[in-house]
């Protein structure tokens, strides 16, 4: 009887704690759960959406930029989006683009990097998950059993903490981004108030899904959501280093792009 009472008390306390625990404590608790195996080289799943241009699930091709039904713009953010000149998509103005990744070779940031035709790899350790990307090559650190700094210093990739859930999902909570990157190829802006939640779920041996919550009260009136699908690639990771070089970009522009925009005969 006593054992039953003790067990019941522990169960009640655990249930109460699960409701009231801070995210950081829940992260600690969650990290003790079985970690899913996220190994593999992950690339956008062409059979389920591919790369697209926009994070908008109603307008993945970017044809309705600025007027997507699922992006709750603040007025300035809509104006800013419409003022941008994209380097890709249906209305690309590649030679006049304002995409900072293209013109300055700056990091695309996250989630923008998931709109690129590159592979992603997860390296899981007890302390952290390292997310590696073929472009850059860049990597992020998702600290397990950790908290965000109280006074986070805004940076390109933000500050990420994470935990595992249900034995199949890695939840990444990120804050502390600077405001220099676009959220996607279509110029959707964000501010330093961006709070990004990524849920990576391995649904089977060959498929990974990413649910995104974009919560930025500086640019949008409420949180909004996106989704990416990935498939395992068997062609090898980082077979070539996709580095953005101003010198190489200039050489390409001089050899190919500039002649193509010059008026014939001039």
């Amino acid at each position: 009887m006593r054992n039953i009472l003790v067990t019941t008390a522990i169960a009640v306390a655990t249930a109460a704690a699960a409701v009231t625990l801070s995210p950081a404590v829940r992260a600690q608790q969650g990290s003790s759960l079985k970690a899913p195996d996220l190994s593999g080289d992950w690339i956008a799943d062409r059979t389920r959406g591919g790369f697209g241009q926009s994070l908008s699930l109603s307008d993945m091709g970017g044809r309705n930029r600025g007027n997507e039904s699922d992006i709750p713009y603040q007025p300035w953010a809509r104006t800013k989006t419409l003022s941008e000149k994209t380097s890709t998509g249906p209305n690309a103005q590649s030679e006049q683009t304002t995409d900072p990744q293209v013109i300055y070779c700056e990091p695309p940031g996250v989630p923008h990097i998931y709109l690129w035709p590159i592979k992603t790899k997860f390296v899981q350790t007890p302390e952290a998950v390292y997310i590696l990307y073929e472009i850059g090559p860049f990597f992020r650190v998702v600290w397990l059993n950790a908290k965000h700094p109280a006074d986070v210093d805004p940076q390109w990739w933000g500050h990420s903490i994470g935990h595992y859930e249900n034995g199949d999902t890695l939840v990444v909570d990120s804050v502390g981004f600077n405001d220099k990157t676009w959220l996607d190829q279509m110029g959707h802006p964000h501010t330093e108030q961006l709070h990004l939640i990524e849920r990576y779920k391995r649904v089977n041996q060959n498929q990974l899904e990413l649910d995104l919550t974009i919560d930025d009260p500086g640019a949008y009136t409420k949180p909004w959501f996106s989704h990416r699908n990935f498939a395992v690639s068997t062609t090898g990771f980082l077979r070539y280093q996709q580095i953005c070089s101003v010198r190489e970009n200039q050489q390409f522009s001089d050899a190919l792009a500039k002649p193509a925009v010059t008026t014939p005969g001039k």
């Binding site: 062409r46 690309a92 030679e95 996709q242 953005c244 193509a260």
Partner: protein
């Protein structure tokens, strides 16, 4: 197996769509691939895009120097290309999406070598059949 490879190739071509236009695809007529017979003078394998330079001789014997680009090596490796795929001196027919303004620059669709071997770089909507040899 053949259909799997074809499906894989088609998929890889689709996958590169995001990066396809980064450096000017809107400047080229992507509606038709034009065949140009010539000699490779240089193959640049690197970022931000591979470039194939080749000379095309017209009926009057005048030579036009063309430059055509592909996606970067990371993407082209997925399509079966490598740094050794092309070399100066190769006699080729290059199918190009030519610049809309008439300049001798292009987005590369595919290359057909003298022995008939093909390297596909891009989707070709309504492309003409390779020339009879």
């Amino acid at each position: 197996m053949k259909s799997r490879i074809a499906a894989l190739t088609a998929g890889l071509l689709l996958m590169a769509g995001a990066a396809l236009a980064h450096h000017g695809a809107n400047l080229f007529d992507m509606s038709k691939a034009v065949p140009l017979k010539g000699t490779v003078t240089r193959f640049y394998w690197g970022n931000p895009h591979n470039q194939v330079e080749f000379d095309v001789k017209d009926d009057k014997g005048e030579i036009a120097h063309w430059v055509a680009y592909t996606e970067p090596p990371l993407v082209m490796l997925e399509r079966g290309w490598s740094v050794k795929s092309i070399k100066a001196g190769d006699e080729v027919t290059v199918y190009v999406f030519a610049a809309k303004n008439g300049a001798p620059v292009a987005n590369l669709a595919k290359i057909v070598f003298a022995d008939g071997k093909e390297l596909v770089a891009n989707n070709i909507p309504g492309a003409p059949a390779p020339p009879a040899r």
